[in-house]
Structure formats: C-alpha cells, structure tokens
C-alpha cells in the first residue's frame, strides 16, 4: 500500500484471540479510513465476527491494540466502545419491541424534562424525527418498533448509532433480510453517512454489494489476515480465491464410495417461505455434501427430513418405500439420525453425564419392562468413549465439563448407538480443534464405508470438497445446482451459493 498521509479513523493492530481449543484470531490487522466503506470478508469461521466483537467490547482481546484517529484506546466493555463512538448493528437487532422508534433511539439517554426524572417527550420526539428525516427515511418515530418492517427497524438501529455521534459503524450482514428496493435505500443512507465522515465496516457474503458500496476490502481466512486491497483492483474470482485458500482434498484421505442402492429420497419437498421444491437422493455408502451460505436452507432440509419441523408438501422415501415422518421419534425409528449444528442447545443435555447422553436416543435397547439395565448402559457408554477416544475422566462426567471436540464426540456416540442407517451431519466440526476435526472426518469416512448414507452440511468449503462424493449447493431455500466430486471447486460452489447462474 502507498504511504498514507492521513491518520486512519480506526486501526486494529495485530489482534489475537484464543477460545478454549480454538485460535479464533491470529495477528489480524484492520485499517479503516475516515469516511470509508470498508468491506470485511471471509468464510464462516474466518474470524470476522470475533474481530468485530472485540471492537465492540463484547470479547476481550488477548493481544494487539486498537487506535481511533491515531490514539490508542482501551475497550473493555460494550459501554466503553459506545462512548468512543463505535456502534455495531448486528443481524439480530437490539431493539425493544414494544417501545416506539424514538424511545429506542434514545434508550438510556432520554432528554430530561424540567421536573427531575421525567422525560421531555416533546424534545425526544422532535430530535428523533430530525435524525430520521436527515437520514432520508420515511418513518413516524412514534410507531412501536414491532410494527415496523425489518428494513425500517434497521434504519432505527442506524439512527440510534448516528444519534450517539458514532464515528465508526459496523454493519454485520445488513442486507441479509432486505429486499432489493430496501437495499438501495440502505446504500443511499450509507453514502450519506460516508459524506459526513462516518467510517463503515461492512460485512456481507454478497460480493455484488461489496463491489457496489465498498472502497476497500479486507479478507480473513482461518483467523488470519489475508489481504487488504482497493475494491477497484479486484475481481470476483480473486476475492473468492483469497477467501477459500487451502485445499483440504489432500489432507483427508477419501476412498471413493462404492455407491449402492438409494437409501433416502426426498421428492418435491416444500415448506412455505423456507424450502422450495427440494429433491435429493443419497445412497448407501455415499457422503452427500450440502453447501450454501448461512440461511440458504440447509439446516431446514435436514430438520424437515428428520421430522423436527413440519413440511407443507412433498414425500420422503426410505429404501424405495414411502414413509411418513412426523416427529424426530419416528425418524429415529426409521433409522435416521441428526447431528445438530448447535450441540449445546440441541445436541446435548449439558447437565447430564456422558453415559446418559450417549444412551438417550436408544434407551429402549437397554430397557426391560421400562427399567434401564445399568450394567448394559455402562458397557455401551464405555465402549463408545473408548472407540471415539472421548477424553473424559469417567463416563459419569457431566458433558458440560468437556471440551467442544469431546462434546461433539458424545453427540456422535449417541447416534452411533442408535445404529442409524442414514445420518445427517449439520456443521459437524464447528468450533472444535483441528485434531478432533480429523478424527470426525475419519469417522464419517468409516461410517460411509460401512454402508451408512450420509448428508453433510458444512460452511467450510474445503471440508465439503474433501469429504463429499457429490455436492448439492443451496441458495435461498432452493437447490441451486449439483456438482460431482470431480468437477467441484470452491469457486464453482461459491458461484452457485451466491446466486450466480
């Protein structure tokens, strides 16, 4: 980069952050100029959110420093970030639904009336309306926030940020829920803020937007800084190449599947507003990769197959026979297992022991007259702890005391114990360390070799490419395309996933 004469509005230098078992950020730097729209790009898990949470004071950094207008600052809480003029607009808004727009904008800083502890509502509404009008938004500030559209709520968030005289505004996937028209007005607003000297960090998966609105772009991968360049100097393919980097194909040894008979067939599956005409087949011994961006409907496909969410139309066939699956209970009876994306909220009973979690989905196999045979249960749990090399002092340890990787192994143990013939893996290696990842890859390969049909959802492209025999790419609730193992590349997947033709 050329010598910068002006002092940057925001500088994050050599930031590192480690979570138990995971190095989330490794020496990452980010420089944002005054009045610049700076795009922050990277795959899921690249470290974007962690970096922004550190900026917002939500996570403490391990090492590194943050400078505002050239001066080092100390951010140790969301409060202090706010006072320094840093605002973050998350995907889930921080608005109080039953308060109106003005009350939300001035929440905690309401203008005071002459009588102590009363609010000067007239001034508050006038000020709020002035801010909203200046942003060029059509909105009555007396409307309760829960009656505003998502786009309008976003505008209220931005108004809240500007009313605090924020100098740096971070927008995390602001376009995810907007229509094209709304997106256009968001861009108008961003340009106006820009002209007022506000710096914007813009996080998005949609590259077209980046080309339209951003001046420069910083790309992260696996928690490391990869590149910072002017958007004008880059094209789409280059950005994708920066984002995806290394190939995992060589790391995970993969025997091509001896594809046998179809195990699971999904035909014309629909769930209004979520899934549109999903058709897929997975064969015994095959790993079918399901790729796509967050929110593309991959998890929803798995949940629909598993009976966790109701479907509106479509049918499911198992080994050639149509079946009706209306609950997870019946899915499990039919030999289907779901390894959920969020193991703490959906995969495990955290307060229960390794033993109890391992056997929960198949207690019937251990029971006689409704009583659980303790000896058999201990035997089963011990076997899986040994087979999967779960690092735990005893099978009586509560799973909340295990590391992420070992927790995930307990989830896997639960499904292995059900002897499922079809396994749906939703982000099976999220948030676990590299060693445990490799073990889970080996296990998936081994299961496939034993004839289990596997659908694997993953946002990590190298993982999808390395593990899958075939890949379906989803985009906005539809299957956007299918790629064979031979033809699949990260670029092609990204192309389909971002809505390219």
């Amino acid at each position: 980069m050329t010598e910068e004469a002006v002092v940057p509005a925001l500088e994050m230098r050599h930031i590192s952050k480690t979570f138990p078992g995971v190095r989330a950020l490794d020496d990452v730097s980010l420089t944002v100029m005054l009045g610049e729209v700076h795009a922050l790009l990277g795959e899921n898990g690249a470290g974007k959110s962690t970096l922004m949470k550190i900026l917002a004071g939500a996570h403490p950094k391990d090492t590194g420093e943050i400078l505002l207008n050239g001066k080092p600052v100390h951010i140790d809480s969301p409060q202090s970030a706010m006072e320094l003029g840093i605002s973050i607009i998350y995907q889930e808004f921080n608005l109080v639904p039953y308060l109106n727009a003005a009350e939300n904008i001035f929440l905690g800083r309401e203008p005071r009336a002459k009588i102590p502890s009363f609010v000067d509502f007239r001034k508050m509404y006038a000020d709020a309306q002035a801010i909203i009008d200046r942003l060029g938004v059509k909105l009555n500030v007396r409307t309760p926030v829960n009656r505003l559209s998502v786009a309008q709520q976003q505008m209220v968030e931005i108004a809240k940020a500007t009313s605090r005289k924020s100098r740096v505004i971070v927008m995390d996937e602001p376009s995810a829920t907007l229509t094209e028209h709304e997106l256009a007005s968001l861009f108008t607003l961003i340009r106006q803020l820009q002209s007022e000297g506000v710096s914007i960090v813009y996080i998005s998966h949609r590259l077209e937007e980046v080309f339209e609105i951003a001046n420069r772009v910083t790309i992260l991968r696996d928690g490391r800084w990869v590149a910072t360049e002017k958007v004008a100097d880059l094209d789409r393919d280059q950005i994708i190449r920066y984002m995806v980097g290394r190939e995992l194909k060589d790391i995970i040894p993969k025997a091509p599947a001896a594809v046998k008979e179809p195990a699971l067939r999904v035909v014309h599956l629909n769930r209004t507003g979520v899934l549109h005409d999903i058709n897929l087949t997975v064969h015994c011994g095959e790993v079918l990769g399901l790729a796509g961006l967050v929110g593309a409907g991959r998890t929803e496909v798995a949940r629909a197959i598993f009976g966790a969410d109701p479907i509106d139309s479509g049918r499911i066939e198992l080994f050639g026979k149509p079946v009706r699956i209306h609950s997870p209970e019946s899915a499990i009876r039919h030999g289907i297992g779901l390894i959920t994306e969020d193991r703490k909220a959906q995969g495990l009973i955290l307060g229960m022991a390794v033993r109890e979690n391992t056997t929960l989905a198949n207690l019937a196999a251990l029971s006689r007259f409704g009583f659980v045979c303790r000896a058999k249960e201990r035997e089963a749990a011990t076997k899986y702890v040994k087979d999967l090399r779960v690092r735990t002092p005893t099978i009586e340890q509560a799973v909340q005391n295990l590391s992420g990787g070992n927790q995930q192994k307990v989830v896997l143990a639960k499904w292995l114990f059900t002897k499922s013939k079809i396994l749906l893996f939703d982000e099976p290696t999220r948030g676990i360390d590299v060693g445990a990842k490799t073990e889970i890859y080996q296990l998936i390969n081994q299961l496939a070799a034993e004839g289990v049909a596997i659908i694997m959802i993953s946002s990590e492209l190298p993982e999808i490419l390395g593990m899958s025999d075939r890949i379906l790419v989803m985009h906005e609730g539809r299957i956007a395309g299918e790629l064979s193992r031979a033809e699949a590349t990260q670029e092609k997947i990204m192309h389909l996933a971002t809505g390219g033709e």
């Binding site: 995969g347 009973i349 109890e356 989905a361 019937a364 659980v372």
Partner: protein, 340 residues
C-alpha cells in the same frame, strides 16, 4: 480448607440442617419430649401428605414445570371420595353402584378420587403441552377453577359423618400398622416406588432429559409432550390420593382443605435440592425437605413459639437452603473453570 467446609456444607446441607434442628429441639424442649417415639410418629404423620404431594411436585419440577393446582385438586378429590363413600358410585347424577357395603364403598371413593385427580392433571398437561401455556399460568388458572368447583360441589358445605372404615385411612384410631399411621406407610411406599421410577426407568431418565434440555431431548427421539403430560397426571393422581387421606384424617371433606399446600410441596422439593429450572432433583431430597419442614413446624410448636414467628422461621430456613444451593452451583462452576 475453607473450600472443603463449603463443599461438605453444600453437598450435605439439607442433612446437616435436619440434624441441627433435631439436636436443637431435643435439647431445648422440656423433658426432651421432642425426641419421644410418640412425637416422632406424630411428625411423620404430619408430613405424610406433604411428602406425597412433594413426590408428584418433584416429577413436575424436574421437567422445569410447576403445579399450583394441587391444593385445590386435593380438596375437590376429598369431596368426590367422601361423596362416593356415602352415596355410592355415581357420575353426574347417574348412580352406577348404589348402596354398596361400606368396605367396598371406601374403595370406590378412593379410586374415584384417584381417577378425578388424574383427569384434572391430564387437563393441566394438555393445556401446557398442546396449547403451549406456561405451566405457572395454566395451573394457576386450574387452581382457582378447581377450588371453585370444590365449593360448588356441596354448596360450600363440607361432607362429614363418614364411616369409620374410611376414617381409618387417615391414620386415626385403628388406622395404624405397627404403631405407624397408614398415611405414613403410603408415603413411604410411594417414596420407594417413585425413587426407582425416577432413577432407574426409561421414563425417569426422560423426565430429567426434558427438564435438562427439552429441544435436545425432542431431537433425541423423546416424546417430550407425552413425558410432560405424564408428570402432570402423576401429580394429579397423588393430589387425589392426598385428598382422600386428608378427608379421612379429619373425618370430613372440606372445600377449604389444602389451601397453600402447593407452596408447602414446592418448598419441600426446593429444599431437597431440585432446581426450578429443571433437570435436577431427587425423591430422597424431597423427603428430606419435607422432614425439615415437619421437624421445624413440630419443634417450634413444642417450644411454644407463636404462629407468626413460626412462619418467619419457615421462610428463613427455605431461604437459607436455597442460598446453600446457589453456593453449590457457583462452586461447581468454579471447578469447571479450573478444570479448563
């Protein structure tokens, strides 16, 4: 060392509390009458009903639910039982078995109460699972509705003059086996059965699982709605049983019976180490909790402490037990951090 003391205190808090209370009351009551066999039997008699309700409440609370309707159900089922004992088996004015001989009539009354109690429990369960109403609100509504029906049942009059063989169920004269009142035997039997159900059966495991993480349980194939429905039915049946024992004990089924009993049952459960957040609790803990409450009530009366101060002490003990439990949770969390 400090940690060791805290550890013992938190692990065995309720047992220690019971021992301290027993020792204190033994020393301080005149002629040590607290510790006489007669008084100890009295205490068990006094806590039998709360223990029975506490057992049901333990199931409910482990699933992260609550049942505020048990006191009302107890009153209503007592009336149903007394009515059937006196007037034979009948439903809505249609007599099915009139003028049955007394021993059989007592059985009819007992079964009638259990069925009605279970039915009300199932209504609670359906409202909570199918209509997704918060258990606190659903059973709060049931509490006043059922209480209302209890008053309507006999125009707000109690049903009295019950046959002797019915009264024996309450553990009064002739209602004892090996000097121990029948309700105590019933409570003991239920403690043993429910302990095994919770700790050894598939259903028991599912009760804990639902309370620990309902969504994860559902995705592991647990029929979470059925489990929740079942615990409210169990609670209802036990409240019905308690209603019979209570009516028999005082030889009168009173629509005002069982006021605040739900709170005593909840207190016993919480004292016994169950978490209102669900997933944690034991029957033995609840038994200990009921014992602590019983010993405290009895001892304070023996010492001649006024009713008002009794209430204060009861509250203090509950608060103390819960604070101990909080300390235990904090201790466990710290150990976890150290382990990491």
């Amino acid at each position: 060392m400090k940690e060791r003391i805290l550890r013992v205190l938190t692990d065995y808090g309720i047992v220690l509390m019971l021992i301290v209370l027993v020792v204190y009351f033994t020393i301080s009551t005149p002629n040590h009458i607290f510790i006489t066999p007669l008084n100890l039997i009295n205490i068990t008699h006094q806590i039998a009903i709360n223990t029975i309700l506490g057992i049901g409440m333990t199931f409910v609370i482990i699933t992260a639910g609550i049942d505020l309707s048990v006191g009302s159900v107890l009153a209503y089922c007592g009336l149903v039982a007394a009515d059937m004992v006196k007037h034979g088996l009948h439903i809505g004015g249609v007599t099915i078995l009139p003028n049955t001989p007394v021993p059989l009539a007592v059985l009819e009354g007992l079964l009638g109460a259990l069925v009605v109690g279970g039915f009300i429990g199932s209504l609670n369960g359906v409202v909570i699972t199918k209509f997704k109403v918060n258990p606190f609100i659903a059973t709060l509504a049931a509490m006043t509705i059922v209480r209302g029906f209890a008053f309507i049942y006999n125009n707000s009059y109690p049903i009295s003059n019950l046959p002797n063989s019915f009264d024996k169920l309450g553990g009064g004269v002739g209602g004892r086996f090996m000097h121990i009142p029948y309700p105590v035997w019933v409570a003991l039997l239920l403690v043993v059965i429910s302990h095994f159900v919770l700790s050894r059966t598939r259903f028991g495991r599912q009760v804990y699982a639902v309370g620990g993480n309902e969504e994860a349980s559902r995705l592991s194939g647990v029929n979470t709605n059925r489990v929740k429905l079942m615990v409210y039915i169990i609670m209802g049946v036990l409240a019905g049983l308690a209603g019979v024992l209570q009516a028999a004990d005082v030889s009168s089924a009173d629509p005002q019976a069982g006021l605040m009993y739900e709170l005593n049952a909840i207190a016993a459960v919480v004292l016994g180490g169950s978490s209102l957040m669900g997933g944690r609790g034991t029957i033995l803990g609840t038994l200990l909790g009921a014992l602590v409450i019983g010993v405290l009530n009895n001892g304070l009366i023996m010492l001649g402490i006024s009713d008002f101060y009794q209430q204060v002490w009861r509250g203090v003990v509950i608060l103390f037990a819960v604070l101990l439990d909080q300390a235990k949770i904090a201790l466990l969390a710290r150990q976890r951090r150290v382990a990491e």
